[in-house]
């Protein structure tokens, strides 16, 4: 005997392990035992093998490695005696699984044991085979098992039947071999055999269509008889479970009936009576009875049952649902979820009870109920259901809020019929559980907001109010801050008040306060803070009076330790301080986001995380001076939103503008000339979408000037020395590129125009004759009116020439007037030069400008355009913008 072989008994080892006070002690004991066992293994000790295996199993259960004992199992199984075999098979099932190759070695022993004269040894082999056999073993040993199913011993029969289940699962092709034996076993009387045979038949039906047909033909009568016998049987103590005779057999029979009756009217009809009997007669005061009723309901729902039977089933479910036992309610919800496809109306009737279950104390029930509610929602009940769920969000416990929020959001998005309702619900969810709202949900909200021009005012005011009360909700803060930045003036001026909307008085400095507070909140993350900075910057242009203060706030972060924030602060400060002349055009409102393409993208790309930050410094423009550094496009969540991800590797770096406008131009030309991928487009959150609009992003290498006709009204245009590359660049742009001229230039850029003038083939609009469509007033404010006249190009319905007329309604002259327009992707826009840049006061004359619009989706989508007019009144910058959605139909 080896010195390590302590020879302790199993009981002693377990005691020793249990006596250990620390994990280290336990490890030491186990190590000692394992060493002893290994020693015994290597010495091939016969007597202790049996005990060592038992010890190994215990050690295995504690989670220690025991692979060295695997071969010992095989030796024990190969031994002659029953005790060795019993422990050996147990060890085999515990220590090995079907993946291990050692298992193949046992096939031969198994085969011998299956043919053993002792029924218990056959039983052990069948049990082991049934629990861990692999596909190869199944093939090898299937004939033995098949034979054993027909032997005389009941215990062997039922084990063989169950073992066949495993074989059929592993090798479905073998199903046909077992059809006939299974059918013959169904005629037996012994419950164990019946249960096993029914389970085998169920498995066969799943595995093969032929088997299903065979059993339908041959066994349906048997099955009905089994169920009838067991449910009518008198008290049998050995099978009795709380007054019901063998609920297991009941349930298994009902389950097989469901499979046989599914989609087969004859079979189903045959079962109707017995199902009705079980459904009505089974006692429902104990778990066993309820289990049978539950299975019975499932079967009734699954087969082609009569409507009377269905009503019976739904009633049982109704009873279940109002049961006080949580288990019963759980299965009722579960069942209703399946019943909804059969009889949605009946399930709808239980809506209020189900909604109560959403508020249950039990997480399992809540989860189930919530899933069910989600299935119950339809166009008619979405509003009350959402209201209930949103109300519940108030009191739901934090663990559940995540699930609940996700479901509410998806219901609201899926079923919203009107935008206002959608926005209202989203605002509520954001307020109550903003920190649980997923990024893509609030991104989608922003897309919707940007498209709902008539609701933007309302939204920004609602969000502002919500922000005051629920500043701790991350997503709410982001959406609110974004809206305040974009639509700040609507917040202050109460633009677009809805009926019944409460009037809030917000001053310009209040709006700035809100953003500042959001920025300084300790829980704000980098993205939120970055969005706050953008919002502040935007507000500085919307509310010139707060500019000083914003400069201060932004300035405070020039030394922020987060690079992103520091960079923004520095760049934004310089925009506020030094580039007032271009600031207003730089910080114009974001163009409308394309809803359709966003939805497609959201559906397809699960997580496009191409971060804008990575792209920005991709190309270092050689020889180009970078006056203010390079502004990054906004943080990645927005980048995703803004379509950046599809732009691939194109570096969409935006150069912030330079100190002097002439410099700016030089820069622009320089950019074109040096062929770097810099776009002379002002940076801000809108950059990316602008790129998109300009289709620049999709061109892999180049972002040149916005290639279109710049509107330059300056009369004193002087030719400049043309930079040849720039021309080339522009000239080479294919005419098919969808280009919308978002002109970004202050009028101090006389040179660009000439440069580009030569490129614009279409000159000013010839006249107003042949107007097929009535004129529209595209925009009207207290100060300015814009009308559009239309002329169709004969032969090309897609193209429309628009003649825009700008009229000054005030008594002071507008100077440096610039008109800008942006269109969705499917529209191409060309702007002709305007007739002048000064709009005389009081409507004494006007400025006109031609626009050529090509609608690539003519007939499918109407024209849409956002316009913007910037001008100076007495040297002061003014900016007006709007969306033109009243284009005549047919354009």
């Amino acid at each position: 005997m080896s010195p390590f072989s302590s020879g302790t008994r199993l009981r002693d080892m377990i005691r020793a392990i249990r006596a250990c006070k620390t994990a280290a002690e336990e490890r030491a004991v186990v190590r000692r035992e394992c060493a002893a066992i290994r020693a015994a293994i290597s010495e091939n000790e016969q007597e202790l093998r049996h005990r060592n295996m038992a010890k190994l199993m215990f050690i295995h259960m504690l989670g220690y490695p025991t692979h060295f004992g695997q071969m010992e199992c095989l030796k024990l199984i190969a031994a002659a005696g029953f005790p060795e075999k019993r422990v050996g098979y147990l060890g085999l099932m515990l220590l090995l699984d079907e993946r291990q190759e050692v298992l193949m070695l046992v096939t031969n022993s198994l085969k011998q044991d299956l043919n053993h004269s002792n029924q218990f040894i056959v039983g052990l082999a069948l049990c082991a085979l049934g629990n861990i056999c692999s596909a190869e073993m199944a093939r090898d040993l299937a004939p033995e098992v098949e034979r054993l199913m027909l032997c005389r011993e009941v215990n062997t029969k039922k084990k063989a039947a169950l073992c066949s289940i495993r074989i059929v699962r592993k090798v479905p092709d073998l199903a046909e071999n077992f059809m006939a034996p299974a059918a013959s076993l169904l005629k037996e009387k012994h419950h164990g055999v019946l249960i096993s045979a029914i389970q085998l038949s169920t498995e066969l039906c799943k595995a093969s269509k032929d088997a299903l047909e065979y059993l339908r033909k041959n066994c349906i009568e048997c099955l009905v008889r089994i169920l009838r016998d067991v449910s009518n049987s008198s008290y049998a103590p050995e099978y009795d479970v709380s007054g019901i005779s063998d609920p297991f057999l009941h349930i298994r029979a009902l389950k097989l009936m469901r499979i046989l009756g599914q989609g087969d009217a004859d079979c189903s009809e045959y079962m109707n009576d017995i199902l009705a009997q079980v459904a009505t007669k089974t006692e429902s005061n104990k778990n066993a009875g309820n289990a049978i009723l539950y299975e019975c309901v499932q079967t009734i729902m699954g087969i082609e049952a009569t409507s009377g039977l269905r009503v019976l089933a739904i009633n049982i479910l109704g009873r279940f649902l109002s049961n006080r036992d949580n288990n019963i309610r759980y299965v009722a919800l579960n069942m209703l979820m399946r019943a909804i496809t059969v009889d949605a109306q009946a399930v709808q009737r239980h809506r209020t009870t189900i909604l109560e279950c959403v508020k249950d104390a039990d997480a399992s029930i809540r989860k189930r109920a919530l899933e069910l509610v989600f299935l119950l929602v339809n166009d008619t009940n979405v509003k009350p259901l959402t209201k209930e769920l949103v109300d519940y969000l108030n009191v739901a416990d934090p663990d559940f809020k995540g699930d609940l929020t996700a479901k509410i959001c998806s219901i609201v998005e899926k079923f919203s019929q009107e935008k206002l309702w959608y926005l209202d619900q989203m605002f509520k969810v954001l307020s109550l559980a903003g920190s649980h709202v997923k990024d893509d949900v609030w991104h989608a909200l922003i897309v919707v907001l940007s498209n709902a021009s008539e609701l933007q005012g309302y939204s920004v005011r609602s969000l502002y109010t919500a922000l005051q009360a629920y500043g701790e909700q991350g997503s709410l803060v982001r959406v609110a801050v974004w809206c305040i930045g974009e639509y700040g003036e609507m917040l202050v001026n109460n633009v677009g008040m809805l009926e019944g909307e409460e009037l809030v008085t917000v001053t310009e400095s209040d709006a700035v306060d809100a953003v500042e507070i959001a920025f300084n909140r300790y829980s704000a993350d980098v993205t939120t803070r970055a969005m706050c900075l953008v919002a502040l910057l935007k507000l500085s242009s919307r509310f010139p009076s707060t500019s000083e203060r914003i400069k201060q706030i932004v300035g405070q972060n020039k030394e922020n330790i987060v690079l992103e924030l520091q960079q923004r602060s520095i760049e934004f400060s310089s925009i506020i301080q030094r580039h007032q002349s271009i600031r207003s055009s730089l910080l114009e409102r974001m163009p409308v986001l394309d809803e359709a393409s966003y939805l497609v993208k959201r559906a397809t790309t699960t997580q496009a995380t191409i971060s804008a930050d990575k792209l920005a410094p991709a190309v270092t423009p050689g020889g180009l001076k970078l006056p203010n550094g390079v502004a990054k496009p906004t943080a990645s969540p927005l980048a995703d939103l803004l379509d950046l991800s599809s732009d691939g590797a194109s570096a969409t770096t935006a150069a912030t503008t330079t100190t002097a406008p002439s410099d700016f131009l030089q820069d622009l030309l320089g950019i074109g000339g040096t062929n770097s991928s810099m776009a002379g487009v002002p940076s801000s959150a809108s950059t990316d979408i602008l790129m998109d609009l300009l289709s620049i992003g999709s061109s892999p290498s180049q972002n040149g000037l916005p290639a279109s006709d710049f509107t330059h009204p300056g009369p004193e245009t002087k030719p400049v020395p043309v930079v040849p590359e720039a021309i080339d660049l522009l000239g080479s742009l294919p005419s098919s590129t969808s280009v919308s001229a978002e002109t970004k230039f202050t009028p101090v850029l006389p040179k660009a125009i000439d440069l580009l003038d030569g490129l614009s083939p279409s000159t000013s609009i010839s006249g107003l004759e042949n107007t097929a469509h009535p004129s529209i007033t595209a925009f009207q404010s207290a100060t300015l009116k814009v009308t559009f006249d239309f002329k169709r190009q004969p032969g090309n319905p897609r193209e429309t020439a628009i003649h825009a007329t700008f009229t000054n309604l005030t008594s002071s002259t507008f100077t440096d007037f610039i008109f800008q327009a942006a269109v969705p992707k499917f529209i191409q826009l060309k702007l002709d030069p305007a007739s002048g840049n000064t709009v005389p006061a009081s409507g004494n004359g006007s400025v006109t400008q031609g626009l050529n619009v090509t609608n690539n989706q003519h007939g499918q989508k109407p024209l849409a355009m956002r316009i913007r007019m910037s001008y100076k009144v007495n040297g002061e910058d003014r900016l007006e913008q709007g969306q033109v959605s009243n284009f005549p139909s047919g354009l």
């Binding site: 297991f248 057999l249 039990d362």
Partner: protein
């Protein structure tokens, strides 16, 4: 079908594991850890079912032990609860007022009993007495073999004296 059966104590100690669906050894310990934290955290009056990774774990607490069985979502949860109870009743009859210590020191007996109740994750026998009869019959077979061995060794010992 039942994917696995698990017995854990209130302290999270494993008392019995039986796998009917192959899980690699590494994953087994992960599963045990996940399921036990899930179940031990649940309060006393909640329902006995927990959704776990697309399956459903049915559990019931008897004294200090949690009996758990993982089933397909389409299976009958109430019946599984009944199977657990079936198993516990048989254990109780076999050991005579079973307690956790019985299952610790005679863990292999618990396995033998389970093997007479379930095979391939399906129920084998609904008759408690039949199960007990089979297990005791096999136990006595083992006893007989032991006696035989000891009497044999006595004879050898006497013969060699």
């Amino acid at each position: 079908m039942i994917h696995f059966a698990l017995l854990i104590s209130r302290q999270g100690k494993v008392r019995l594991t039986k796998w009917y669906t192959p899980y690699p050894q590494k994953q087994r310990s992960k599963v045990i850890k996940e399921v036990s934290t899930l179940i031990l955290a649940r309060g006393p009056k909640l329902c006995n079912f927990v959704d776990w990774q697309g399956c459903r774990v049915v559990y019931k607490r008897y004294a200090s032990l949690y009996f758990c069985m993982c089933i397909d979502p389409a299976d009958n949860e109430l019946e599984t609860l009944q199977i657990i109870h079936h198993f516990v009743e048989i254990l109780d009859r076999y050991f005579g007022n079973v307690c956790e210590l019985d299952l610790i020191f005679n863990f292999h007996k618990a396995y033998f009993i389970l093997d007479e109740i379930l095979i391939a994750g399906e129920l084998q026998e609904s008759n408690k007495k039949a199960v007990l009869r089979l297990v005791t019959a096999q136990d006595s077979l083992v006893e007989a073999a032991k006696e035989e061995a000891s009497s044999l060794s006595k004879i050898i010992a006497q013969a060699t004296k």
